[in-house]
Amino acid sequence: MAIRAVVATPLIALLVTSGQQPVPPAVRYEQHVFAGGAAPPAGTLENPFKGDRRYAADGEKLFSAFNCDGCHAVGATGGQGPSLADGRWRYGGADGAIFHSIYYGRPRGMPAFGGVLPPDAIWRLVTYLQGLEPAADPSTTSW
């Protein structure tokens, strides 16, 4: 019932994929320590919409329509979930790392959206989040 309700929204247009993109088996994380200095064989994912404001605008709509703002707040500035607008990333800020966080979820409370959002929609969300300007030094300016 829930999925039907989602599809019934006007955002259906955003969910139609333009050609199926393969789901990656694994993503390489640049922030990891590689044992022996050797990175494991894994794919890197590139955001096909990187820097494109039209896709970022779609992503902003999806951010609200799929209740992301319920945890991360309007503008992704942080609520019960962490800020996604501070230029800092728990699980890496590379294209594939953010994609992975949304698609598969994360163990400390981030739901996996890969079952309701196709890769194209997730890339729109990634584009939106990557386009947010972090504040210069938010923690010390108001004292």
Partner: protein
């Protein structure tokens, strides 16, 4: 009630044999939820000589709501997630641990705990400690050894259910409820068997009468009579994801054999998606502990437009109202009104604002309904509705008040804030928030964001007030020694005179206080006061700039409270004080 059940009930009033007054066996000390202690060693005259005598780091950085228990010279402390349970031996120097219990709690629960990973405490009964893990499990632990006796899954994290509330034990029944008003749960309370943990009954707060256990032969509401209200006051199927969670406090009247609890907000926040009164969200419900039957219910905020949960404690007292002695419950609602209600019938006797209120002009005592200011109604089509008082944090939130039968006064931690409120349509998607809200806060009249007040619930009048710079998010404790204790968000723990509110003593405890003080008789008959320091509990309130534990999460300060992080940061400390 039969004679035999009466005997059982009377025995339970003193559930812990020995010296019940020197102990603290349940969240609010007693079934009436008074948070009143008859101890008199610490008085208004000598409180200035209080000093810190012991502290302990829980090892957890999160909002330390709730309170310790003290039974038979052992102090029990439950931490926020991951819900470690510590047992301290108060009979030995330095209070070493007797044992600790480390449950395996599902980390996914972190993501569906709306307002920090808090735990509101445990209860002692039948030589066991019973409490809820955040991930929807209730556990019973042997008080002597720390051994897990049973572990029952009561709630489903994947449906947005979590369990931060403190259970209540009545006889052989453990009563628990679920949170999740921000995740579109269908709220409930359950009655478990204390011996085995088996779920004996489940009572939903909305839906068909058969499922809310509103039986025609026993359900006798004072105002809203009729069948099927839990269903007909919603759009079709709206109640299935309508919230009405249970994340606050429970109390119990042995003479009436009724337990009382409040329900949270209806979901989602956009009221246009759930036209109707939405019963029994934002209500008080009175049920029988044995089988869960609903005996009466009263809705404080019909068709809630402002996230005015009603989960705050129901304090049971016998008061004189308009010249008549009444058995009442007193409730300080998020909506800003303080209610004095006949606890046998559900009749509202007094309903007066205890903070600044502008969404309603008054409560009509003949109908029980608030007279709503239509300019303050919200909904997605109304855009941002400005300057609503109080905020969705409430005139008071979960922080429990205390009642002294000596002074006849209620001591109430309060918030003084107003808000703008803009909702948007939302779609239910299991496991994700069902909210749709942007609601910036601002200071209320006077500019102080909080206050502690003394309240006369027979008349519905404020007797004195202590203004505080920040919202007062800690509970209150009052003693027969005439002292009220509470803490502040910027980390002061304070003692004030119960008669006048005059300041007696304060101590900086290292982190903001959102827990509830208790008092007990320790070694050599000495009186001690315990409280947690550990800021947190609601990131919407705190903005998150008070945390330093996550380098990947940096936030600007809250616009209405820009300097809190100058005075405090996260913590997790148990403090003991004595003369």
């Amino acid at each position: 009630m039969t004679a035999s059940t009466l005997l059982v009930v009377l025995a339970l009033q003193h559930a812990v044999p020995g010296a019940p007054d020197g102990q603290w066996p349940m969240p609010a000390k007693d079934y009436a939820a008074t948070r009143y202690s008859a101890l008199t060693h610490i008085t208004a005259a000598n409180a200035k000589a209080l000093r810190a005598v012991w502290s302990f780091s829980t090892g957890v950085l999160a909002g330390h709501e709730g309170q310790p228990l003290v039974v038979q010279q052992t102090m029990y402390v439950v931490t926020p997630y991951p819900n470690v349970l510590y047992a301290f031996d108060l009979a030995q120097e330095g209070y070493p641990l007797k044992w600790k219990y480390r449950p395996n709690v599902d980390a996914a629960a972190i993501g569906i705990a709306c307002c920090d990973v808090v735990n509101r405490g445990a209860v002692f009964a039948n030589d066991r400690i019973v409490y809820n893990l955040l991930d929807g499990h209730t556990v019973a632990i042997a008080a002597a050894t720390g051994r897990e006796i049973w572990n029952t899954k009561v709630a489903d994290v994947r449906q947005g259910e979590s369990t931060p509330m403190a259970p209540l034990v009545v006889g052989d029944r453990v009563i628990v409820g679920t949170a999740g008003g921000e995740f579109g749960v269908r709220g409930w309370v359950k009655g478990l068997d204390l011996a085995t943990g088996r779920v004996v009954w489940t009572a939903y707060n909305a839906g068909p009468d058969a499922e809310i256990l509103a039986r025609p032969e026993t359900f006798r509401p004072f105002y809203d009579k009729g069948a099927g209200l839990g269903q007909t006051t919603w759009p079709p199927d709206g109640w299935k994801h309508g919230g009405a969670p249970v994340w606050g406090w429970l109390s119990y009247d042995p003479a009436l054999d009724l337990f009382y609890y409040g329900t949270g907000n209806p979901a989602p926040y956009n009221a246009e998606q759930r036209r109707g009164d939405n019963k029994w969200a934002t209500s008080v419900l009175a049920r029988r502990p044995g089988d869960g039957s609903l005996v009466w219910a009263y809705q404080f905020t019909p068709a809630d437009n402002w996230d005015y949960d009603a989960v705050q404690e129901m304090i049971l007292a016998d008061l004189t109202v308009r010249g008549r002695r009444r058995r009442v419950l007193v409730h300080f609602d998020k909506n800003g009104f303080a209610y004095t209600i006949d606890r046998a019938t559900g009749e509202v006797l007094v309903a007066e604002p205890y903070v600044v209120v502008n969404w309603a002009k008054r409560v009509d005592l003949t109908t029980g309904r608030p007279e709503v200011d239509s300019t303050k109604l919200t909904g997605a089509s109304r855009g941002s509705v400005k300057d609503i008082c109080p905020t969705l944090e409430g005139g008071k939130n979960q922080q429990p008040a205390a009642y002294s039968p000596r002074t006849g006064l209620f001591y109430v931690p309060t918030n003084n804030m107003c808000m703008d409120y803009q909702t948007t349509p939302v779609t239910y998607l299991a496991g994700t928030p069902f909210i749709g809200l942007n609601a910036p806060y601002k200071p209320g009249p006077g500019g102080n964001l909080g206050a502690v007040i003394a309240w006369d619930a027979g008349f519905g009048k404020k007797v004195w007030e202590i203004k505080e710079k920040y919202p007062v998010w800690s509970g209150a404790l009052v003693t027969a020694g005439g002292v009220v204790f509470y803490g502040t968000l910027d980390g002061w723990f304070k003692a004030v005179d119960a008669k006048s509110g005059a300041a007696l003593w304060k101590f900086k405890v290292g982190s903001g206080v959102v827990g509830n003080p208790i008092t007990f008789t320790g070694a050599a008959g000495k009186q001690y006061v315990a409280v947690y320091a550990g800021l947190g509990g609601d990131w919407a309130l705190l903005a998150g700039d008070v945390r330093s534990d996550d380098p990947a999460d940096v936030r600007p300060p809250a616009s209405f409270m820009p300097d809190l992080a100058r005075h405090t940061s996260l913590g997790g400390i148990v403090w003991l004080f004595a003369l």
